[in-house]
């Protein structure tokens, strides 16, 4: 799946009523199966960009074109369904649901896609991230590294075409950082999933062929 952003503008209303521009991107592109890192300082709009790409937030204007379809024109419901089916999300804080076991967290991702819940596939994903013995454990009983691996399995549950990763290694220890990173990259490569990873770690960015600085193509205060 290719991703193209065109003339994206996004701002938020401040308490005093003024608009605070966050994104102003005239063009950004990611090819199918391509892996890229997006570098940028905290508060620079990285997370907002991921939210716009995933359809969580609608841009004020512009197009988010995924495989030729502009999802910015979709209704919210359609964006939700599209996100569930086509986009995987790995968060910095894992965002696993505490009431559910590892397996159920993965199944949960499937259940919102509108497709049949594929339990063997969920078990297979967890096995491939090395958690075959942790299927019925809740997140609270797992290490942070294990939790992030569950989050990776969940993100891949619906066979997405695009994986968005928001600082996925920021909250894990050094030992697990590389494991998680390798896991994500290999999984994406294996399934030809495009990967856009947001980070502020140069160490992480150094492992990618394509490294983009958000500030290079986002000029919220003026024309980029």
């Amino acid at each position: 799946m290719s991703l193209v952003l065109k003339d994206i503008r996004k701002s938020y209303r401040e308490p005093d009523g003024k608009r605070l521009p966050i994104l102003n991107i005239s063009h950004f592109e990611l090819q199918a199966g391509e892996q890229a890192v997006l570098l940028g300082p905290s508060g620079g709009g990285k997370t907002t960009l991921l939210n716009v790409i995933s359809g969580i937030t609608a841009p004020d204007s512009g197009s988010v074109i995924l495989d030729g379809t502009d999802i910015a024109r979709f209704s919210e419901n359609r964006r939700d369904r599209f996100r569930a089916q086509k986009i995987g999300f790995v968060f910095q804080t894992f965002n696993l649901l505490g009431a559910f076991t590892a397996l159920e967290n993965v199944l949960l991702g499937m259940s919102f896609s509108g497709r049949r819940v594929n339990r063997p596939h969920a078990v297979d994903l967890l096995t491939r991230v090395g958690l075959a013995h942790r299927l019925d454990h809740r997140p609270s009983a797992m290490s942070v590294g294990e939790q992030q691996r569950v989050a990776v399995a969940r993100a891949l549950a619906n066979n997405p075409a695009l994986l968005l990763a928001d600082e996925p290694t920021a909250n894990v220890d050094v030992t697990n950082q590389q494991t998680i990173l390798t896991l994500i990259r290999e999984a994406c490569r294996e399934h030809n999933v495009a990967l856009l990873m947001v980070t502020h770690s140069m160490e992480v960015a150094g492992q990618f062929q394509r490294v983009d600085r958000l500030s290079d193509f986002n000029q919220p205060e003026g024309t980029p």
């Binding site: 997370t47 907002t48 939210n51 995933s54 969580i56 937030t57 919210e76 419901n77 939700d80 369904r81 996100r83 569930a84 089916q85 999300f89 968060f91 965002n95 649901l97 505490g98 009431a99 559910f100 159920e104 199944l107 949960l108 991702g109 499937m110 259940s111 919102f112 896609s113 819940v117 969940r154 619906n158």
Partner: protein, 436 residues
């Protein structure tokens, strides 16, 4: 995983709060089930137990009191009627059966009413298509000092055929008649007040000293009501009977006999209101239609009490619903992130709204089912106690059709109380929720 699974997981995560809120619903439903079952049993008891008779005739006064006293053995007798009045009713060509009742006395322990009546009483259906049956080894009373007792009296007092007992005059436990009556028959359970009745032969009732109306009072009454002045029957014309104690008892002159009430069955239903009107015109008596009086009782008293109880229990369930609302609503701030995660995974606003509604319905319905079990267990446990202490036969397996309304009502209530928390989930800002 479907919405119900997801909702169930959320409930389990907050197991203590969820259990307590479900329990509050359960207690409300249990109370309502108990009220409905008991109300139904009481209503059935009042509305069915004496439809075998068309009219109850007694002294002027409260018609309700007359019916309650004669048919349900409740309340005090109003006054008595002359025996001649009973004879007059009995001889009326439109009357098929006239059963005299002499009331006022009790068993020696004061627990059961004594009913002086005639054996014919047991030949007549006490309810449509229900005739009295006797327990094995016993039968109808024949001699003046014979008695027939209800099933509950036999069970409660441990009396069997051949048992003898004395009676307390006017229910005064310090004024016990010396005469003994012998149990000749025990009625099979009827589920009516007859189960708590001690029926003695009318002839025996009149042979007991103190049951005759003094002649001067008879004359005074006859004069006051313009009746034919009674003359004392010559002693030699009266029958005698040797009692179980060996003493010889003499029959009371008719002029000194009285009856408390007369149960009347007419030959044609159209005759009942005519007879009722003609009795009402006279100075002495009234005739009450038992079905109409009980209808009034059910509408005006029992019905109102039932309404109050049902409304109160409904309010308890509503309060339980509010507690579900509070429980879910309070959890919403903690769950904003959880909902945002679901939304980020692709759940639509409608989906997260539905999850919250499903959660509310699960709590309400789960509590409701638990309440049904508790309510019917209470009825099951209480039935022998209620039966032992009252005239009420409580079927431990009783199920009321009204109960079927409770479950849909709970679902509606759950949907209503889930609306606000559901809308909070619906409106959750995903980006903000994820950032928390």
């Amino acid at each position: 995983m479907n919405l119900v699974n997801i909702a169930w997981k959320s409930i389990r995560q907050r197991s203590l709060a969820s259990s307590l809120t479900a329990l509050s619903v359960a207690l409300g439903v249990a109370l309502m089930v108990t009220v409905l079952v008991i109300n139904s049993v009481v209503t059935k008891m009042f509305s069915q137990s004496m439809t075998g008779y068309d009219l109850v005739v007694g002294a002027k006064g409260s018609a309700m009191q007359l019916v309650l006293n004669t048919i349900y053995f409740l309340d005090k007798p109003i006054e008595n009627l002359p025996y001649s009045y009973y004879q007059k009713i009995r001889n009326n060509s439109g009357v098929s059966h006239a059963i005299p009742f002499c009331l006022g006395d009790t068993t020696q322990d004061g627990r059961f009413r004594i009913v002086g009546t005639i054996p014919e009483y047991f030949d007549i259906e006490y309810m449509p298509k229900h005739k009295f049956q006797f327990q094995p080894g016993g039968g109808i009373m024949k001699d003046p000092f014979d008695a027939v007792i209800g099933a509950r009296v036999a069970r409660s007092n441990g009396w069997s055929v051949g048992s003898q007992f004395s009676i307390a005059h006017g229910g005064n436990l310090e004024d016990v008649h010396a005469e003994k009556f012998t149990v000749k028959g025990i009625l099979a359970p009827t589920g009516t007040p007859n189960d708590g009745g001690v029926f003695i032969h009318l002839d025996g009732f009149y042979m007991i000293p103190g049951h005759e109306k003094p002649l001067d009072e008879v004359r005074e009454r006859d004069k006051a009501f313009g009746l034919e002045i009674a003359e004392e029957t010559p002693s030699r014309e009266r029958r005698t009977f040797q009692g179980p104690d060996g003493k010889v008892y003499k029959e009371l002159p008719d002029s000194q006999k009285e009856v408390t009430a007369i149960l009347v069955r007419v030959k044609f239903m159209t005759f009942a209101p005519m007879l009722q009107a003609s009795i009402k015109k006279g100075p002495l008596a009234q005739a009450a239609n038992p079905i109409a009086e009980i209808g009034k009782l059910l509408r005006n008293i029992v019905g109102n009490i039932r309404t109050v109880l049902v409304v109160m229990t409904a309010l308890i369930i509503v309060v339980s619903g509010v507690s579900i609302f509070v429980s879910i609503y309070n959890s919403m701030s903690d769950r904003r992130r959880e909902i945002a995660i679901m939304r980020a995974l692709g759940a639509s606003r409608t989906t997260v709204f539905s999850i919250i509604i499903a959660e509310s319905i699960l709590l309400c319905v789960g509590g409701g089912i638990l309440g049904f079990l508790i309510g019917h267990t209470l009825v099951f446990i209480a039935s022998p106690v209620v039966e032992a202490r009252s005239e009420i036969l409580l079927n431990p397996w009783a199920f009321e059709l009204d109960e079927l309304i409770i479950l849909p009502a709970l679902i509606v209530l759950a949907t209503i109380v889930g609306l606000v928390p559901g809308l909070t989930a619906y409106r959750t800002d995903v980006a903000r929720g994820l950032a928390e």
